[in-house]
Symmetry: C2
Subunit: 201 residues, 2 copies
């Protein structure tokens, strides 16, 4: 597509590098910014620059944090006996939103995925092992990874790595989603929900 200005073209190229944003959406966003006052654009770019240059990760759980140790790891209210292993920050936020979990986290920063060139060494798995070695108070590790091929592989690998330590390893339950219609559940999920049935109180 011919752009009326090199500035537009460069901005569209940069914006369309973001995931899920094509050239057409990028052009719409860029033209929107031109219509707003300059301050709108500068506030946006400053926030992104600040984020990228100042972002830090908690030295304990490797979650994104403003401080050296994040607020969860630092809290006296959290149960230090349980560590929940997740793929990334979004998963921590999702689990925190449930208000069902009061333990600590360990953020891997991804899952093992040979297709994308991500191996165990690229993730914070050794850091987890070290953390378990150093902290005798940890009694349980919950593997809360996505129920996908990559998530299962990663869970399998972590379990192999830590099963000799005196710590219980559990995984989050898989079954039919609450509120979902049984008729529309896929057969693997439904099959597993039958195999993993629990006692009716």
């Amino acid at each position: 597509m011919e752009y009326p200005s090199k500035l537009i073209e460069e901005a569209v190229n940069q914006v369309s590098k973001l995931p899920g944003i094509g050239k057409k959406t990028a052009l719409r966003l860029v033209l929107h910014l031109i219509k707003q006052n300059e301050q709108t654009t500068f506030a946006l770019t400053e926030a992104l620059n600040n984020l990228r240059s100042k972002i830090r990760f908690c030295t304990h759980c490797h979650n994104i944090s403003d401080t050296e140790v994040c607020s969860i790891c630092n809290s006296h209210k959290r149960d230090k006996n349980i560590i929940c292993v997740v793929e990334d920050t979004k998963d921590v936020m999702a689990i925190e939103n449930t208000a069902q979990y009061t333990g600590l986290y360990h953020v891997l920063g991804g899952v093992i995925s040979p297709m994308n060139g991500v191996g165990p060494a690229d993730l914070k798995i050794e850091a987890l092992v070290k953390r378990l070695d150093n902290r005798a108070e940890v009694k349980e590790v919950i593997l809360a990874l996505s129920p996908t091929m990559e998530g299962d592989t990663t869970a399998f690998y972590i379990n192999k790595r830590i099963k000799d330590l005196s710590v219980k390893v559990s995984v989050i339950a898989r079954g039919v989603p609450v509120g979902g219609d049984l008729e529309y559940a896929d057969e693997i999920t439904l099959g597993r929900s039958i195999l993993s049935r629990t006692l009716f109180n």
Copy 2:
């Protein structure tokens, strides 16, 4: 939603101000930027800052331009006898893509929309009248505005403003879209396509 970092929160707030981007998409984009190297973010923000601070508009047609007079107004190949009036830059790009038009443009910068507080004075309508006054060579003005209430109102207003000047005023054809199934055309479009029928060669 609780964010793990103030930097994330501020970035998400700024990104979610863009049209069509909610908090969840903004978070996804922001976390994507964190995973990339710093240069990715800085290239993006620099392109946006450059765009917003250096952007200029052609003094003739008011389209976005890198120079005082845009490449279309400056071109010797364009037919100076016709001016096509459009709402914004995206419409110029769309018409240029058809390769069916060789005249000049006039970009209004919007359409009359009392609901959004946009009146005739907010648009480049007087600039168009002045342009027609000064340039006797213009023989025809094509109103290429969207077939909506606002577009029609704007076309009606412009026609009233320039009908006393010795210039032909036309509007782009309305009818069933090429490649569209007649069955699915709405009744207003179909009705108008019958009223505005043209001779079969």
